[in-house]
Amino acid sequence: MKMNNDKAIIKALQSTESPRLSADFNSRLMAEVYRAVERKKKRAYVLGICLISGVSLVLIGLAVYVFLTYIPWNFTFELPKFPKINLTPESKWMYGFSFYIALLTLILIGLDNYIRHKWMTRKSK
């Protein structure tokens, strides 16, 4: 069976007037393709939002359930009691000196930072 040699059938098929696609067919089709891509992106975005909202609602619901079930309503907070400090003239001097050192350190660090900043800006100019 030599079907590929059926010249008459090939010629008849080729000679049948095959209408051409309209000139702008390919561009119209590509525009549709781009629209389909946009729709797909939009759908994915909406789906993502829905998913996040759903998960958030479930988590909030779970939190409310846990709060209502496992945490008692009559709970109270107790603030810790600060120790009482007895200030003697000697300890007053000690506290004053510590405060002075801390303040001095802070001032020196601030001064160092200011001088460095000035020096860097001058260097960059």
Partner: protein, 215 residues
């Protein structure tokens, strides 16, 4: 580079037509198309125009033969390409892209014809069986007779959808039996039998036409 690549491939095909085996050219073409598909799936949508430019006319001529109206055929061609684009991630690469696309186009056209209820003339089985193989070969091998060609064209329009698809893809698109089997969801043996029977049917339709004219 993207815009010149198809031109390069077509020129490469022309250059290598006489030097390389056909299977190698088909393999190379498939690799190029698979690469394109991967890039389209990665977001380079504009590359789909390569497939649209390459196959839109072939797909359109097949659909026109099936549905027989130009406007519907154009719409169905667009539907086929859009369906192919949406299902692009399901293309496994186990056949050529054109075969896969023809299958989508065939199914789309078939769905459209089912809604319309098209009628095709029946041919007597006994008459078909009585046609000798030698007569077929000599009959279809000659293409000089214009009247015969005209009658053959008429006979082709009387074939059913599957038969039209078979001969269009086999004779004008040079699809192999295996590829036809994929497009029509048949076995290769079944395709061979159907092709053989289409030739007999065409012969009977033409000779029957002659007898009717003589009466």
């Amino acid at each position: 580079m993207v815009t010149h690549f198809p031109v390069f491939i077509s020129s490469l095909k022309k250059c290598n037509q006489n030097r390389l085996p056909a299977s190698y050219t088909i393999y190379m073409n498939n690799q190029v198309e698979i690469n394109y598909i991967e890039r389209i799936l990665a977001g380079e949508t504009n590359l789909y125009s390569y497939f649209v430019n390459s196959y839109s006319n072939s797909i359109y001529s097949l659909i026109v033969r099936i549905v027989q109206t130009n406007e519907d055929a154009e719409e169905l061609t667009q539907d086929s390409f859009l369906k192919a684009f949406k299902k692009l991630d399901s293309f496994k690469g186990d056949c050529s892209f054109s075969t896969w696309l023809f299958r989508i186009a065939y199914n789309t056209a078939i769905s459209a014809t089912r809604k319309r209820k098209m009628e095709f003339p029946m041919v007597d089985e006994a008459m078909m069986e009585s046609v000798p193989d030698e007569a077929l070969e000599t009959f279809f091998d000659q293409d000089e007779n214009e009247i015969k060609l005209q009658k053959l064209e008429e006979a082709i329009t009387k074939l059913n959808v599957e038969e039209k698809t078979l001969i269009t893809l086999f004779y004008t698109e040079d699809k192999s039996v295996a590829e036809l089997a994929r497009v029509l969801d048949l076995t290769p043996e079944n395709v061979k039998v159907k092709l053989y029977r289409v030739r007999k049917k065409l012969y009977v339709l033409m000779t029957k036409g002659n007898e009717d004219e003589q009466r």
